[in-house]
């Protein structure tokens, strides 16, 4: 049935149980630490707390979107529409406040509701009509990019808006000059999203349902779990996160770019996989995704600190990292199969 996506489900592996399920996330964290140590060892000023803080500032939108993607991937699906939904929600925020004169708070609320509803609609199409997630969300990718370009094919700037100024207002932790750092409000939004996602995934029925559906949809159905609600729910969560990502992007740049978030779905998927989640679903952690986003952020930070490497090395290294983590997962899964037989 609809679990037969494009991919073969690997045999049941130790990635689901025991301590070895922490190996991929452990590897990600270790990698993060090594990268940080390499950075502080080689470059001046790399050790300043603000460098780490900036990882969160620059990647706040990606982090939020990757968290939503984690829900979808844990349930065994995929969401290609997030980049376009993000651009669409940033553009609608800008257009509603600047052109239509709607108060910013209302505009943001409308955008968030729209993102959630459209995500739920995608999930309903996927579940009830048995359309593959890849195709259903591909339609979303085209649809929202098209709608964004129809609203405006040029950048829309949001100026002199108190609500949108709030997003980049910084809270200082200690004096920035001597070892302190400051964080804008968007980082707290991202942090709240991660925290809520963590609690939902690990301590609620919905969260356990997500893991169960990702592990085996048929077993989840047999166990009497609400498969339909869970599958529609994860896409609604992803849609909400993508819309929120767009709002955060509008906060941080105070403008909306019709081509913003192009290819962002790939970054989000890569971050989730580097964070140790299995693309077939059922295994992974939202905190792993945070680590995955940090690895990718750290990578571009190191490249910009070094200056000798060109920007395209970032993509190649992300590809190599993906390869390494996927092979690691395969090795773990194989060794698990051997031990059990």
């Amino acid at each position: 049935m609809s679990t037969d996506t494009l991919t073969e489900r690997p045999a049941r592996s130790t990635l689901f149980d025991g301590l070895s399920r922490y190996i991929p996330i452990g590897a990600t964290v270790a990698l993060l630490v090594v990268m940080y140590l390499v950075g502080t060892g080689n470059y001046r000023n790399f050790g300043e707390p603000q460098v780490v803080a900036n990882l969160f500032v620059n990647n706040a939108a990606l982090l939020i979107i990757a968290v939503g993607m984690t829900f979808v991937i844990l349930s065994g699906g995929i969401d290609l529409s997030v980049g376009s939904v993000m651009a669409f929600s940033a553009m609608s925020c800008a257009w509603l406040t600047v052109e239509a004169g709607i108060p910013a708070e209302t505009a943001v609320a409308m955008v968030l509701v729209l993102g959630t509803v459209s995500g739920a609609a995608t999930g309903a199409v996927i579940h009830y009509f048995n359309v593959q997630p890849f195709i259903a969300t591909l339609a979303g990718l085209f649809l929202y990019r098209g709608l964004t370009l129809q609203i405006s094919d040029r950048d829309v700037a949001i100026r002199d808006n108190a609500f949108f100024d709030w997003g980049m207002e910084r809270t200082e932790f200690g004096n920035v000059r001597d070892g302190g750092f400051s964080l804008p409000n968007i980082v707290f939004i991202a942090g709240a999203v991660v925290l809520i996602a963590f609690v939902v995934l690990h301590y609620t029925r919905f969260g356990r349902g997500v893991y169960a559906v990702g592990g085996s949809e048929q077993s989840a159905l047999l166990m009497g779990l609400p498969v339909a609600r869970t599958k529609v729910g994860v896409y609604a969560v992803s849609g909400f996160c993508a819309a929120l990502g767009g709002v955060v992007a509008a906060f941080s740049t105070k403008s909306a770019d019709p081509l913003g978030g192009l290819g962002l779905e790939l970054d989000a998927i890569a971050a989730v996989v580097v964070g140790g989640a299995l693309l077939t679903g059922g295994a992974g952690f939202v905190l792993g995704t945070v680590a995955g986003v940090m690895v990718m952020g750290m990578l571009s930070t190191i490249i910009s600190f070094d200056g000798r490497f060109s920007s395209w090395w970032a993509r190649i290294i992300v590809g190599i990292l993906l390869l390494a983590f996927i092979l690691l997962q395969r090795v773990l899964a194989r060794s698990g199969e051997k031990r059990k037989t």
């Binding site: 890569a270 395209w312 993509r315 996927i326």
Partner: protein, 369 residues
């Protein structure tokens, strides 16, 4: 063995032809409607080819010529999808193929035919090698196709930029290389010839030999095919290799047409268009069945759709929206659940058609299986 195959083939041929026709009739109808709309707006010049400078021209021929790279990629993608796989890296391979050829040519004697041949050969060899790598990852390491090819989709454009050094290499307008994209043989544009030859070769290879059936059996159930004595691993590697090769060839045609290779934007999102074309053509993403002719019609639909939008006076921004609508309509039409849901009120049984009841019934069907 072969006698058995022959008998089952001839017995199934009538049913097969019928099914083939039924699958093709929807996309063919859509294409005809699009063409009729264009003729209504711009007149019969749209469909009737004209000859300019010893080359076929006219709106529809131009659509076909511009769609040739997409057709090549979509044909390779059809075979990959037939084996229940997917290749997301074709856009990146397109960029790499274009980058290699252009970079090789600009550093040497641009007029020399030998240089162009070597450039084309290297580009195609590298593209095929990348495809084989994808295939190895899928077949030998057991990595899901979407993940295995995602790696190169992300890294590939970085590699292409590495090859070009972040520049956009432009070849001279006089080099024989540009003939690949702009030239014509016997007034037929070269891209159309290349795409046509590849289509014919693939169709002959898969439909007159057992290869096509083996492909479908691997897509239907790789483990069962292996037990039945089919070397499913080598077949998997082969289709990804062909897909990579087609993508590289498409990159060459694209680069030749433009006279340059843009590592960032060359072939951007072509993998999505290719998958779209394959799905429009009636090949389900679940594997086990493929329609090369359907894919060709799908490519023609996408190409004509883009022109139609301009012709009927909509802004080019409508392209994405129109594509989204096409994806949704095709996906929903192909979904048996959706058709049942739509047909339910018409039959008059259980009015209202609560979708949740539908979900339970599909669950029960799965249990019975």
């Amino acid at each position: 063995m072969s006698a058995l195959l022959d008998r089952s083939k001839s017995a199934a041929r009538a049913a097969w032809a019928h099914q083939y026709f039924r699958r093709l009739i929807w996309p063919l109808g859509v294409l005809l409607v699009l063409i009729v709309v264009n003729i209504a707006v711009t007149g019969f010049d749209f469909i009737i080819p004209s000859v300019h400078d010893g080359r076929l021209g006219g709106a529809f021929v131009n659509i076909l010529r511009r769609s040739a790279p997409l057709l090549l990629i979509a044909l390779g993608m059809t075979l990959v999808i037939a084996t229940k796989g997917i290749d997301l890296s074709v856009g990146a391979v397109y960029a790499i193929g274009a980058a290699i050829a252009c970079q090789w040519i600009i550093g040497r004697d641009q007029m020399s035919l030998g240089v162009v041949f070597v450039a084309v050969a290297i580009a195609i060899a590298v593209a095929a090698a990348i495809g084989a790598w994808n295939g190895l990852m899928v077949a030998n390491f057991g990595i899901q196709p979407i993940v295995a090819t995602l790696i190169l989709m992300i890294a590939g454009r970085g590699i292409a930029q590495l090859i070009t050094g972040g520049q956009i290499p432009s070849v001279s307008d006089e080099t024989p290389f540009v003939e690949l994209g702009r030239g014509a043989v016997l007034t037929i544009p070269v891209p159309i010839i290349i795409a046509g030859v590849v289509l014919a070769a693939l169709a002959l290879l898969t439909r007159t030999t057992a290869l096509g059936m083996l492909l479908e059996s691997v897509g239907g159930n790789p483990e069962a095919s292996r037990l039945a004595g089919i070397r499913s691993k080598s077949i998997t590697v082969l289709v990804y290799l062909v897909c990579g090769l087609c993508a590289g060839l498409a990159g060459l045609i694209g680069a030749a047409n433009l006279g340059s290779a843009d590592a960032n934007n060359g072939g951007l999102w072509i993998e999505l268009d290719a998958i779209l074309a394959v799905v429009i053509g009636g090949t389900a993403l679940l594997g086990g069945r493929f329609f090369l002719l359907g894919t060709t019609i799908g490519v023609a639909i996408i190409g004509t759709l883009e022109v139609t939008i301009i012709n009927i006076g909509l802004s080019s921004q409508w392209q994405f929206t129109a594509k989204a609508i096409v994806v949704l309509v095709v996906a929903l039409l192909q979904s048996p659940e959706f058709r049942a849901w739509v047909a339910k009120p018409l039959r008059g049984k259980r009015p209202g058609g609560a979708p949740s009841a539908k979900a339970e019934s599909t669950g029960e069907e799965a249990l019975v299986k």
